[in-house]
């Protein structure tokens, strides 16, 4: 499952959808909007995507991860539009028979997403807004 969505990401229902009796280990990364960044108080965020290309790049991440580790599933959901503090912007779930592979693949997937998938974040503060356009790690 590779998706770009505008509505809130429901982590529980995504995970429930992914039943797989052969997988003992599910590792998820759930990235949420923080109330502070760059020393400022964040009021909300706006994510913009180059939609079709973002989906292709997320599919490449999934395909490369599934070649590199013995995964049974790799799911990536990214939300776009306006997000409030505390809401999830991205959910990655990796499933494998053994936990070591799921941990490594999930970590690699979010690290790679942040450098290759054409999505941009604008941070809104009480006193202004800024596009975040440097890879912050």
């Amino acid at each position: 499952m590779i998706r770009i969505v505008e509505e809130p990401i429901d982590v529980g229902s995504v995970l429930a959808e992914l039943e797989d009796p052969g997988s003992g280990a599910w590792v998820t990364f759930d990235g949420r909007v923080r109330n502070h960044a760059r020393g400022k108080s964040v009021t909300h965020l706006f994510y913009e995507a180059y939609g079709p290309m973002a989906v292709r790049e997320m599919e490449k991440i999934r395909d490369r991860a599934m070649q590199r580790w013995p995964l049974t599933q790799l799911v990536i959901v990214h939300r776009v539009g306006r997000l409030e503090v505390g809401e999830s912007s991205v959910l990655i779930a990796a499933a494998s028979p053994h936990r070591s592979d799921a941990f490594e693949a999930c970590r690699w997937a979010i690290d790679t997403l942040k450098t290759t998938v054409p999505i941009w974040k604008k941070e809104h503060y009480a006193d202004g807004e800024v596009w975040v356009e440097e890879y912050a790690g």
């Binding site: 949420r32 923080r34 997403l113 356009e133």
Partner: protein, 82 residues
């Protein structure tokens, strides 16, 4: 015709997200961007950090374009979180 797309701060700088470029003669991605800068001088400052994709795939700047290509210019990506 080339379909040109701009994202994030680059779109803000140009004041639009989409441009059409009439196909006249073969040119590279780099040459196309130089032409764009002529019409939208504020784009120039972005050149050093800019990324480019042709038909939804990352591209080199010396790639020759073909009539009908979609060319997207954008700043370094910042999806994900934390």
């Amino acid at each position: 015709m080339l379909n040109i797309r701009l994202f994030a701060s680059l779109r803000d700088a140009a004041g639009r997200s989409q441009l059409e470029w009439e196909w006249r003669e073969p040119l590279t991605v780099e040459a196309l961007f130089e032409n764009l800068v002529r019409d939208h001088p504020r784009l120039k400052a972005y050149r050093s950090s800019l990324l480019v994709a042709v038909n939804e795939e990352y591209s080199a700047w010396d790639r020759p374009l073909s009539d009908g290509d979609e060319v997207a210019f954008f700043p370094p990506v910042s999806g994900g979180a934390a």
